[in-house]
Symmetry: C2
Subunit: 401 residues, 2 copies
């Protein structure tokens, strides 16, 4: 059986994802599609609109065969670390190919770029370090350095190109027996926050249209599969909310206000004295977006700050980040009957424990952070939903379809 890996957030699953999935199957001839999916919090430092279970359902309904959790310690990270964790997990399940969507759409461009990056890493990094010292933000410094390498034409102002390059670089760097492949994103030129294609819209625009409530579900219906619509509705009916930063802001504010600067400095992503700024601006901020506006400068991108806020919210320390070098377990979130067959097929030779009962992970530092993230995620619910949602982190068996 040939397994192909994809790396996803599905926040929420939409027609663009469906297109990517179907093209992946068609182009690779995969017998089994395995998705490494972020859990409660996402790469850009945001809570997922709905739980990982609800998003797993969407994925299985659309034809994914196996969904595994990309642990928090890799999921809420810059492209490089995100990619390295995801690629390692998919490799541990013997994926022969990894297929990602990109604005570029030509895999050779990515391979060339990754090779250049690996060969001339020192040169690239020294450019970046210099620019950072001058107060330039990381993405800008990296794009500038990239231009100076003057070797390949990959547009790194496009987010999916950045991620794609990170996947290919991770594969080449670790010399993994994985063939990378990319699919050109359709309708990828549209503005992220508006609808301009009849059936494809970005997850950002869909979340924006929902405005945190189920009332606008019909508005986004043309852009999502029926199963996503149903899963969203069911989630809202059960839990009474879609998750977004503002719901967590009271906790973040409470935490920043009662923490010592020294404590904030222990948190991953709190660097260069930004803890002073956090303490200085938090008291007067009535909302998360007001707070972000207040702490933002040219030096720090929105994403970097948002990720840092997520780490404060979930109490993810530098110490824990250091301990999380590479995935230590494969957590199964869901599978189809086809996925079950594949797992039967490989389970005896898996290099990492395949975990469905997470009580076994009690002493794993990577899972310990996952648990804290699950707690933070549930903290926005009122009772009795909160206590029930917390139980689900432990008691939910893999979704089967």
């Amino acid at each position: 059986m040939k397994a192909v890996g994809i790396i996803v957030e599905y926040n929420p699953f939409h027609n663009g994802h469906l297109y990517h999935l179907q093209e992946t199957k068609k182009q690779t001839g995969a017998d089994c599609i395995i998705a490494a999916m972020s859990g409660n919090f996402l790469q850009r430092g945001e809570p997922a609109l709905v739980s990982k279970w609800a998003r797993t359902k969407m994925a299985l309904s659309a034809g994914v065969d196996i969904v595994i959790e990309l642990p928090y310690a890799f999921a809420v990270q810059s492209a490089e670390r995100f990619a390295s964790g995801a690629v390692a997990l998919l490799h541990s399940l013997y994926c022969e190919e990894i297929c990602f969507g990109s604005e570029n759409g030509n895999i050779q461009t990515f391979i060339d770029a990754a090779k250049t990056l690996l060969e001339r890493k020192e040169q690239h990094d020294s450019y970046v370090q210099k620019a950072l010292k001058q107060g330039v933000s990381y993405p800008r410094a990296s794009a500038e350095a990239w231009k100076q390498l003057d070797a390949v034409s990959l547009d790194l102002s496009k987010p999916n190109n950045v991620l794609g390059l990170a996947y290919v670089t991770a594969i080449l760097q670790k010399q993994l027996p994985i063939t990378p492949r990319t699919i050109h994103r359709i309708a990828s030129g549209y503005h992220d926050e508006m609808f301009s294609h009849p059936s494809i819209a970005s997850a950002t625009s869909l979340r924006k249209a929902l405005q945190g409530s189920v009332a606008q579900l019909e508005t986004i219906a043309p852009y999502i599969p029926a199963a996503t619509k149903q899963a969203l509705k069911q989630y809202y009916d059960t839990y009474g909310m879609f998750h977004e930063w503002e719901a967590y802001f009271p906790l973040l504010k409470y935490r920043i206000m009662t923490a010592e600067e020294e404590e904030l400095r222990q948190i991953a992503g709190v660097d260069e004295g930004i803890e002073h700024r956090l303490k200085q601006e938090i008291a007067a901020a009535p909302t998360f977006s007001a707070f972000m506006d207040a702490i933002k400068t040219k030096r720090y991108t929105w994403t970097r700050l948002q990720r840092m806020c997520t780490h404060i919210l979930t109490n993810f320390t530098k110490e824990q980040q250091k301990k999380a070098e590479t995935p230590t377990y494969i957590r199964l979130l869901g599978m189809s009957s086809n996925g079950r067959r594949y797992l039967q097929h490989v389970k005896k030779r898996l290099p990492l424990p395949l975990v469905t009962k997470i009580s076994k992970l009690k002493h794993d530092p990577i899972y310990q952070q996952e648990e804290k993230a699950a707690f933070a995620y549930a903290a926005a619910f009122p009772e009795p939903v909160r206590t029930n949602a917390l139980k689900e982190e432990y008691a939910t068996p893999p979704v089967q379809q």
Copy 2:
């Protein structure tokens, strides 16, 4: 001018407090009554029903001349530390006498008891240590040890006798030029949670009758001065709530669930491995009282656990507790014109800075904890009340009457 000190919480100010105040004036012939009052959180580890400013108004209306804040680092503590902080502050303002209410009502009994305690402290403490090791709670161990000293007949099962003894002990131990005095609490035999006297009821019973809402204000009207009623109503109209533990439970739960055990161990009052128990029981607890029931054992009194929860909520560490040996400033919360005259009279020879602008306290460790407590206290408000309430901690000038 003769100043007399009292040590209060006024949560809320009621007719029993008024009686104590009037008797204090009558019996001491004081020209000026100075109250050392707990701020946002109280000795038994609870948030104050209404803010320190609202409670200061009640005190001034009733005839107190000066209200100063007993800092969190002394206010939310066992009787011994509570008393030592309060007595030191009142001494710094040259109070010649301290007058407290007690169930016993005879000052000589307290003086004899304090002397015995000081003389035979080692014997007392060794009894206590032995009993603690056998798993007995501190108050019980202390009462037992006290009995074994067999010297004086002070009933230490009565809370105000315990506090009174701590005041007198602090005065004698530090050899302060302060005369202690006690007033017999009227109607002190009543059950704490019921009304059995026509105009006197305990603060506990009044809070219970209010049930966290303004709807029952008329029910408690016979037991409180008109000014208290007005201040309570005004507070509720402005802030939309009376404060009680359940309003803070979401924050406490979030904090305990996302903190490492190692972090919880840094908090004052988290001893003997109770952090395991906290982590174990918090997930399933839907309310504060359910949580308290879950963590309670014979060894830990309700008050001790509640105080520990308050320290977790306000992030009061053992380190900070160690730094807070004795008060370092006098924070003025309010004064009458008479109080202002007294302060004019003594201000040149005060041994501690008299602070009205708290920005001057930015680097004082005792005030730093006060600030965190103010933040935690405000965290229960919705916006925009929360942000405004936070400003008040810095911007409110002493209440004048």
